[in-house]
């Protein structure tokens, strides 16, 4: 009975609905890859032409903060992957705890990112290329670097915020036992989005912290 209620009438079976949901999410994620891919392409060409500004810009990056955030997102991805498996096994409360852990790590990520942004703003390394910072640091391409840095990391940050909100919603629903093993594909689809957020950061970390 529970299974019968878990899928919409226009699907033949729960498994068909799961496959449709999964494929739909992958198509959406492919469009996200193109969005971030355009920014990566811009990074590649700007860096190829103005390497000095990119190397100089990265000297103002907080490598420790960026690296900690990399570890934070990797672990958060692991936790939500575990949560999907826990829900499939009908360990609903355990799945809720794992999802909650992911949300907490997302908050840690945003906190560290906010700390980094504050430092950049204090220093004057803001988008637009105006102010004392850019009079003092004149490396060719530095303005492009910080424009791209802010645009790309802020866009990623918005994704973290959205993914975190969706997972928080799932965490609460799981904790209240409103979801069971038959609904595991819903959490799976939300988790796919979260893994994409992690995958994008895996590239942002070397691009904006390591490739000095």
């Amino acid at each position: 009975m529970r299974e019968a209620l878990a899928f919409e009438p226009h699907f033949e079976s729960l498994e068909r609905q799961r496959e449709a949901a999964r494929l739909g999410m992958w198509v959406f994620l492919a469009s996200e890859v193109l969005l971030f891919g355009a920014l990566f392409a811009l990074y590649a060409t700007e860096r190829a032409e103005h390497r000095a500004g990119f190397v100089e810009g990265m000297k103002h990056a907080d490598v420790i903060a960026g690296s900690v955030n990399t570890v934070v997102l990797l672990i958060s991805s692991y936790l939500v992957a575990r949560a999907v498996h826990a829900l499939r096994d009908d360990h609903v409360r355990f799945a809720a705890a794992l999802t909650g852990g992911t949300v907490l790590l997302a908050l840690v990520f945003l906190g560290i990112k906010a700390y980094e942004y504050t430092a950049h703003i204090r220093e004057g390394a803001v988008p637009g290329g105006h102010g004392a910072f850019y009079l003092e640091h004149r490396a060719d391409g530095l303005v492009s670097y910080f424009n791209l840095y802010w645009l790309t990391t802020a866009l990623h940050g918005v994704h973290v915020l959205i993914g975190m909100s969706i997972l928080a919603f799932f965490g609460v629903a799981l904790w209240r036992r409103r979801l069971a093993a038959v609904h595991a594909h819903r959490l799976e689809v939300a988790a796919l989005y979260w893994h994409l957020v992690d995958a994008v950061w895996i590239f942002l970390w070397p691009l904006y912290y390591l490739m000095r």
Binding site: L34, G37, V71, D89
Partner: protein, 92 residues
């Protein structure tokens, strides 16, 4: 239906590898590798990490057909875009 239940040890091995690769990438960034090698190493390690995330956390390993095709489309188009744009810059 193939909702194979990964033993949690498999996922633990993947996160372990991801953390080791993160350490390697950080370490390599301080090696002052010559020229483009620096960039190649950083991006190669990142690519391996993303592949692990996609295959194991996102379970692409277990899916066939449409999902695999769609999953490859995005990265393939982005790679094409980057190559064409870089080719234009390098041949100016």
């Amino acid at each position: 239906m193939k909702e194979a239940n990964h033993p949690s040890t498999a996922l633990a091995a993947v996160i372990g590898s991801l953390l080791v690769l993160t350490g390697l990438s950080l370490g390599a960034s301080y090696l002052r590798l010559p020229g483009i090698l620096h960039v190649v190493v950083a991006l190669a390690i990142a690519s391996v990490k993303v592949t692990l995330v996609v295959l194991f956390f996102m379970e692409l390993r277990e899916h066939r057909g449409g999902v695999r095709f769609v999953a490859l489309t995005g990265p393939a188009f982005v790679a094409t875009l980057i190559l064409v744009m870089l080719a234009e810059v390098w041949t100016r």
